[in-house]
Symmetry: C2
Subunit: 333 residues, 2 copies
DNA sequence: AAGAAAGAAGTAAACGTTTACACAAGGCAA
DNA sequence: TTGCCTTGTGTAAACGTTTACTTCTTTCTT
């Protein structure tokens, strides 16, 4: 079972290791005869190059790491997919790790990965690049809201939230509410900021109707139920992600109310599930897969530049997708 | 930017590399004084072990590869999650690669991964272990239907399909139909077999109402529309996966019919989306995340045994989950 | 025909670890 | 004292590649 080495191949083909290496990598010059013999021997011995040895001398791993807070749900799977596609196009391997909510755990994973990747893609909703103890180029996904931090790719959560709220207002909603994500989540914070800013534009002086959720369906359900209990029951809700929005719709229907007639709902992300809620969910589309691809390209630039700080950050603007959950005649108030 | 090596640390701490290595790995004996000096130096120099060098001498990578046909959708993201959780518990890293439908591409990926992993987890709906050119322990997920092939973990698709069909029959469906997966997909084949076997039990001699789909929502929609066009319109449909079932439900409703009153629907997989279709989808639950975990454990056993063929295969039985899409008074015929 | 340039192959020195082995110093039994 | 464990440390040889040099043929130039 022990794999054969280049030396074995060379011996078998009756050439030196150097020639064998040249053949396998296709660089340098060799006669057709030698090439054929080496290839044949490699095939016969089922030679597969030892990656560690190569990386030792080239100091390149051809691998990038991807750190996610969790791998649950369609959002993350889309990120992985995008990164994977882009990585494969560049012949890079992908080391994935999920499920580390807190900073300490993330730091541990980063440390154990650092020795084996050329660069790191980190999606941490709680940390920004500065907090991470890192020795390789790093690109953060999400996190910091403004475009100021370099070598980060993010979503313009604030603008997206504003768009969502204006859309609700345009559809005649007057008593606006928000179900937010976890308070410590940076994306959630921005979406909340966007809601607060725009809601007070639409309805100056009104108290903010906000309930904190946790980005899960159950959380959305609970939060919505609480909002419906208020004396000034909202007629339009901007929910910080689609998963919670799905729960919110359920809660509204359980309360005997109609979506969107009694309460209009809009989410965020446009995960595939959004088309299947009933009614289908209006939302803000973030091209998640595309975002993953771009993040990888950005990381590659950073790696090639040798220094992450040379690469400009990117901010992606979410796009409004109107489905049934928010569509009603203007001024239904 | 060039990382510091163990030699640097040793020099800085004024000890030999051997001692430094001993401290870093916590094996062998060192005085408290030396340990402290080494740790301090490592910290100060931001030492991170070069992974390739270590693997070169230990011939261990502490990494396993995961090959998926595609990373699209919740099914695969759950697999990744399960494997990741189990891998992390064992301090293994996870090299993921998706999007290679055909055998040739899969073989190429396997080859490029082989040198850098201790073992491989392969989920290929078209190939079984024998077809793969492999030099490391390998566990296949899905694929071969029977429990005969060793070192494979799979779902009992046949039994699941039988359960689904019997459930439809018990709910009064008499004109049973099936929307299958792609003909070359091994899981799809078994589900079809299960349908065929059980349907002819329920309604002996009847022609089989079957339409081939492609595991996507659109495919399910198309197939269902075609089935509804038949003179003997089915009143119960077993759909080979939940994604297609979602499309099928849409098609039924577009045709002005009701689910489950006119046509009962049951899917397969129990992806999270299944709870959000309208009506909620009955289905066969495969503990996908759990399956991923078990697959990894199995691979670890194979690696430790040094020989894959020592490890027994596992077959997981899917479990019936009854929701609204198939529930109606008995004998509504 | 002689010398230079180019082409093909080999030699050996890295790369950063781990670990078998050798060595030194101290403690303890005789 | 002598010899033998034990405990801590250092030395150096792997591990499997890549690649800068070196060497030996050719082939071309003049």
């Amino acid at each position: 079972m022990k794999g054969s080495t280049l030396k074995d191949v060379a011996r078998e083909a009756d050439v030196s290791v150097a020639s064998a290496s040249r053949v396998m990598n296709g660089i340098g010059t060799v006669t057709e005869d030698v090439r054929a013999r080496v290839l044949e021997a490699a095939e016969r011995l089922r030679y597969v190059p030892h990656w560690g040895a190569r990386s030792l001398v080239t100091s390149r791993t051809n691998t990038v790491g991807l750190l996610l807070p969790d791998i649950y749900g369609e959002f993350f799977s889309e990120i992985i997919r995008g990164v994977d596609i882009a990585a494969r196009a560049r012949d890079l391997h992908l080391l994935v790790s999920g499920s580390h909510g807190d900073l300490a755990e993330a730091a541990a994973v980063i440390e154990s990965m650092s020795g084996r990747v050329d660069g790191l893609l980190v999606m941490s909703p709680v940390a920004s690049a500065g907090d991470l103890p890192v020795t390789v180029p790093l690109v953060t996904i999400g996190g910091r809201p403004d475009g100021s931090e370099r070598c980060a790719i993010g979503v313009d959560n604030f603008a997206g939230a504003c768009t969502a709220v204006r859309h609700l207002a345009a559809n005649g909603c007057r008593r606006l509410a928000h179900i937010s994500g976890p308070a410590e989540n940076l994306d959630a914070q921005e979406r909340f900021r966007g809601f607060a800013a725009t809601a007070s534009e639409v309805d100056p002086g009104a108290e903010l109707r906000v309930r904190e959720g946790d980005f899960t369906e159950e959380g959305g359900h609970r939060a919505m139920a609480a909002l419906l209990d208020r004396a000034d029951r909202p007629d339009g809700v901007f929910v910080a992600n689609d998963m919670m929005a799905a729960g919110a719709i359920l809660a509204i229907k359980e309360a005997g109310l109609a979506v969107p007639e009694d309460v209009a709902v809009i989410g965020f992300d446009d995960i595939p599930l959004a088309r299947f809620t009933s009614p289908p969910l209006s939302t803000l589309r973030v091209g998640v897969c595309e975002l993953g691809k771009q993040a990888l390209e950005m990381l590659v630039s950073a790696i090639e530049a040798g220094d992450a700080s040379e690469v400009e950050g990117i901010v992606i603007s979410p796009q409004l997708v109107v489905r049934e959950s928010s569509k009603r005649g203007t001024n239904t108030n």
